[in-house]
C-alpha cells in the first residue's frame, strides 16, 4: 500500500490507492482466473511428462521428470508443420476474402440502391441460419459436385460466405453519417472512391474485429475440414491433432503438446491485439447498440 505513495509522480498514471472493495474484487479476479488457467497449466505440465508418467495414478500436477520427449515426438512422427502451414494458408485466405466481400456487401446493402435489394437482404438474413453444421451433407455433395473435395479451394471457399459478418458491417455502415460521403460526392468522387478513401479508413476498428473473429473461427474450424478432407497432407491443425489421438492410440503428453501448439498462434495474436478487439467489438454494433 505504501509503495503507491512512494512512487514518483511521473510513474503513477493517475492511480488510485487500493480501496477495500478493489482488494476484494482483485482477489476474486485472481481466484476465477486460476480456475480458467488451471486446465491450460495442466496441459502444459502433462506435455512435459513422459508418456508413462502422464497416466500415473493418482494424478499429480508437476512432472517428477521434466522431459521434452512429447514435443520432440510430435515433430518427429506427425505432419505437424504441414498442418500448421495449411491452417495458416486457409485462415489467411478465408480472412482476406471474407473481409473484402463482406465489407463491399455490407456497404452495398447499407448505402446504395439497386433493384431487388430488399429481397436479397432478406435472403442473406435467412442465410444466418444455414451453416455447415445444419446442412453439412448437402453442402458436402455440392462441393463434391464441383470437384473440390480434398483441395484447398474446397476448404476455403465454403467458409467465405458468412451472412453474419455482412450483417454486422451493414449495421455499422448504416451508422456512419451520410454527410461525410455527400461532401465527397459533390467533389466529384465516385462510389468506389468514397468507399475506399472514406469508409474503409473510418471502419478500421470494425473491420479488424471482423477480421480477427473470422481468423479465430477459421483457424479453429473443425467440422468443415473434417468433412471435406481425409488427406493428412491437407489437414489443418485441429483436424491433425484429432488424428494424432486416433492413429497412435492415446498418447496424452503428445496430445497436450500438440494442443498447445495449435492454440499458441491465436493466443499470441490476442495478447497483441486485445485492445483493438475489445474496442472493435464496441464499435461494430456487435455490442447491440
Amino acid at each position: 500500500m505504501t509503495a503507491d505513495t512512494a512512487q514518483a509522480p511521473v510513474k503513477s498514471r493517475t492511480r488510485k490507492p487500493w480501496s477495500p472493495s478493489q482488494v476484494v474484487l482483485t482477489l476474486i479476479g485472481v481466484a476465477v482466473s486460476a480456475v480458467f488457467l488451471a486446465p491450460l497449466a495442466w496441459a502444459l505440465f502433462t506435455s512435459l511428462k513422459s508418456e508413462t508418467e502422464a497416466v500415473e495414478v493418482p494424478a499429480h500436477w508437476l512432472p517428477e521428470d521434466w522431459t521434452g520427449q512429447a514435443w520432440k515426438a510430435l515433430f518427429a512422427t506427425g505432419n505437424i508443420t504441414d498442418w500448421f502451414v495449411n491452417s495458416l494458408v486457409v485462415s489467411i485466405c478465408v480472412t482476406v476474402v471474407v473481409l473484402l466481400v463482406s465489407a463491399l456487401a455490407g456497404y452495398g446493402f447499407a448505402r446504395t440502391e439497386f433493384r431487388g435489394k430488399a429481397f436479397l437482404m432478406g435472403t442473406v438474413m435467412a442465410g444466418l441460419m444455414v451453416s455447415p453444421a445444419v446442412l453439412g451433407v448437402p453442402l458436402f455433395t455440392t462441393v463434391q459436385q464441383m470437384g473440390m473435395v480434398d483441395t484447398y479451394w474446397g476448404m476455403i471457399l465454403p467458409q467465405c460466405a458468412p451472412a453474419a459478418m455482412v450483417y454486422i458491417l451493414y449495421k455499422f455502415f448504416q451508422g456512419i453519417p451520410k454527410e461525410l460521403e455527400e461532401a465527397a460526392f459533390i467533389d466529384g468522387a465516385g462510389r468506389w472512391r468514397v468507399f475506399f478513401t472514406i469508409i474503409v479508413p473510418l471502419s478500421r476498428p470494425s473491420l479488424s474485429a471482423v477480421g480477427i473473429f473470422t481468423f479465430i473461427a477459421s483457424w479453429n474450424n473443425f467440422l468443415w475440414p473434417y468433412m471435406v478432407t481425409n488427406n493428412p497432407d491437407l489437414m489443418t491443425m485441429p483436424n491433425g491433432i484429432a488424428t494424432v489421438m486416433n492413429s497412435y492410440g492415446i498418447q496424452w503428453a503428445q496430445l497436450m503438446a500438440g494442443g498447445l501448439m495449435a492454440g499458441l498462434p491465436l493466443i499470441v495474436v490476442f495478447v497483441f491485439f486485445q485492445r483493438q478487439i475489445v474496442s472493435g467489438v464496441a464499435h461494430t454494433g456487435l455490442a447491440g447498440q
Binding site: L25, T26, I28, V32, S33, F36, P39, L40, W42, T46, V55, A59, L100, V101, L104, A105, G108, T112, E113, R115, V124, M129, V130, A133, V134, G136, V137, P138, L139, T141, T142, V143, M146, L157, P158, A161, A163, G188, W192, F195, F222, L223, M227, P238, N239, A242, N246, W252, G259, A262, G263, L266, F270, Q274, V278, V281, A282, L286, A287, G288
Partner: protein, 313 residues
Amino acid sequence: MTTTTPQAVLAPTRARTAADSPTARRRQGFQHGGWFVAPFLVLFALFVIWPLLRGVYLSLTDANISGDGAGFVGLDNYREALHDQLMWDALGHSAYFTLLVVPCITVLALLLALLAHHIERGKWLWRLCFFIPFLLPSTVAGNLWQWLFNPGTGMVNYLFGLDTPWLTGTSYAMLAVVITTLWWTVGFSFLLYLAALQNIPAHLYEAAELDGANVWHRMVHITLPMLRNITGLVIALQILASLQVFDQAVVMQDFGPGPEGSTRTFVQYTLEEGFTSYRVGYASAISIIFFVIIAAVALARMWLLRNREEDAR
C-alpha cells in the same frame, strides 16, 4: 478541385439533373450497388443457397454418397424420420445441451464482464484469462477436458475427491460436455458484455451518484437495463450455436456416440447417416428438418423482439 473551366462548373449540375430522374437513378444505383454486393452474393449462392435447395431435392431421393443414380422416393424419408427414435433422441440431446448451456453462459459471461470491468488494475490480464480458452480449437478443448475428466488419471475427480464416471456414465457424459463448453466458449460472450459495459455513458452513473444511488441501485437501474440489447444478442447467438453442438461432444467420446448414445447430438446423427451409413437422401431429409427447427427458433425470437419493441412504444 479547380472550378475555373466551364465543363467543371457544368458537370455537377448535369450530374444532379440526370440523377433526379428516377429511372436514371435506379440504373446508376444498380451499376454501383449491384457490383458492391455481387462478389458476396456469388459465394453465398454457391455455398449457402444452392446446398439448401440441393438438400431439399436430395431429401426426396434415396441418394447414396456419390449422389448418382438417385431414385425419387417422395416424402418417404420424412415419414421414416418421424418414427426414427435415434433422431428424436439426438434432437433431445441437442436441446438438453442448449437448455443447460445458454442460461449458464449468459449469467457467467455477465458476472465475469462485471468483474473485469470494475477491477481497476491489470484490465488486460483479466481479459486474457477469461478469453484464452475461446482461442483454443474445439478439438483441443475437448481432448483437454476428456483428459481432465478421465476417472483414474484426470484432475477433476482427484481435486474434488470424487469418483464420478464423467465420460462413461450416461447421466454424466453430457454434463461433462456442458462444463467443457462453458469453460471453452464463455469468453466470447464475456467480450461482448465487456464492450457493452464500456459503451454505457459515464454521465449516467455520475448523475445517479449525485442523487445518492448506491452500488446496488446503479446496477439494477442503469447497468442491467443498458445491457438488455446485448443480453438478447448473447442469448440468440448462444441458442443457435448450442443447437449446432458437435465438436466437443465427439472429441470427448473418441468420435463415438457416448455411453448408450447419450452424447449423440443432432449434427452428429446427420453426419453418421450421411457419411457412415452413406444414406445421403435420408441425411438430407433430417438436415432439412433441423434447418426448419433452427429457422423456427430464429423467427420466434424475431417475433418476440418485435412484440417487445411495440410494447415499449
